[in-house]
């Protein structure tokens, strides 16, 4: 790799290499304020490489590689190198991380206690967490939340928030433009723009939080709150975990402990303001 960068997000140290300077420069700009320790080896390596050497000159495109290779990863145009790097980082963590139970969930924290929001793409979990993270909450992550099997604590993974489509306008109206990456229009996932979390969230990225509330948001429909039993929350979170099976009994024990000790609810909401109000209401009523 001709160009490379070292970044750290939560407990994960990445090395990102590329045949081109542009994606590396974009990554370095987004993660310039993140604490890092270059003396320690990287946990995950992401390679953005050309499919054929000459394609670097003829018609540049980026393929995603790394410790794990996903055969059907889309070749992305060079302009999407930043998205390719983000997808590569996600893949390395989702497939390779073994130290914690990895939940595909966003999370925010207040007073050392965390609200975990788990849902499919389009559930609004990322946007809700990003919006809460601009208020009285610490953004722990918009994509992954890690559960420590030893302590049961939630650990942050506050990568640059990946704003998509309508969420871009909603967030850009609220934040300093200096925290926004370039607009990546027309990607396979729609329009994307990255938002650097607030400085306090980055500074606290190594501070764990005790899970206090598990929410399963669903964007659309009337505002509703539905209490969820431990068993259903367990099943849903096994589906939301990328490494539950790989962790074996440690993952089983961590998840059983999490759902037993943390109240869980499904929430439906027609707009972000209502979603945020539901989170605050449940926090006030149940989080202890």
């Amino acid at each position: 790799m001709r160009h490379s960068a070292r970044i750290q997000v939560g407990p994960v140290r990445f090395r990102i290499g590329s045949d081109w300077r542009a994606p590396i420069a974009a990554i370095e700009a987004l993660y310039v304020d993140y604490p890092r320790d270059d003396a320690r080896p990287a946990d995950a390596t992401v390679h953005l490489f050309a499919a054929r050497p000459w394609r670097r000159w003829l018609r540049p495109s980026v393929h995603i590689g790394g410790d794990f290779v996903v055969p059907d990863a889309l070749p992305l145009p060079l302009a999407m190198g930043l998205l390719a790097a983000e997808m590569g980082m996600n893949l390395q963590v989702a497939l390779g991380w073994r130290r914690h139970l990895l939940l595909h969930a966003s999370a925010v924290a207040r007073d050392g206690r965390a609200v975990i929001l788990s849902g499919e793409s389009g559930s609004g979990k990322s946007t809700l967490a990003a919006l809460l993270g601009e208020g009285d909450w610490r953004l722990m992550g918009d994509e992954f939340t890690l559960i420590d099997p030893a302590s049961g604590d939630a650990l942050a993974f506050p990568r640059a928030v990946s704003l998509k489509n309508e969420a871009i306008a909603e967030m850009t109206a609220r934040v300093d433009a200096a925290r926004l990456g370039p607009l990546l229009a027309g990607t396979p996932k729609g329009d994307i723009r990255h938002l650097v979390p607030r400085a306090d969230a980055i500074a606290a990225m190594h501070v764990p939080a005790r899970p206090a509330l598990i929410l399963f948001p669903r964007f659309g429909g009337e505002a509703a709150i539905e209490p969820m039993g431990e068993g259903e929350a367990f099943v849903r979170l096994t589906e939301a975990s990328t490494n539950y099976t790989a962790l074996g009994e440690a993952g089983f024990a961590a998840l059983a402990r999490l759902v037993r000790g943390t109240p869980a609810f499904g929430i439906s909401y027609p707009d972000s303001a209502t979603g945020m109000a539901l989170v605050e209401r449940l926090w006030g009523e149940t989080a202890r």
Binding site: G229, E230, G231, E232, F234, V235, T238, T245, G248, E249, F252, A253, A256, V259, R260
Partner: protein, 93 residues
């Protein structure tokens, strides 16, 4: 049909966690998680270390729970035992 005889998994093979209405069972031998509802956990608990059939388990359950009006308990237990065997949580002795 003769009463089939089953043996429970070794005591250290399963990790059982009650989660409200569901019970999660982790099988250390297969590394699989099984999610079951009543009366599966109760049947497993009633088996102990002996090889036993549905009649014996039904009798033990009747001693612990009020099963009046539950129908042919031994037949229900026999069906559930066959399902537990299919999951690998018990084995035919």
């Amino acid at each position: 049909m003769p009463d089939r005889v089953y043996r429970a998994a070794p005591a250290d093979a399963l990790r059982v966690e009650a989660l409200g209405d569901l019970t999660a069972i982790f099988d250390r031998r297969s590394m699989q998680t099984h999610l079951v509802i009543a009366p599966m956990p109760e049947i497993l608990a009633a088996m102990g270390g002996d090889a036993c059939g549905a009649d014996a388990i039904a009798a033990r359950l009747a001693g612990e729970f009020d099963l009046d009006g539950e129908g042919d308990v031994a037949a229900i237990v026999a069906d559930r035992l066959a399902e537990l065997a299919a999951m690998g949580l018990v084995a035919e002795a």
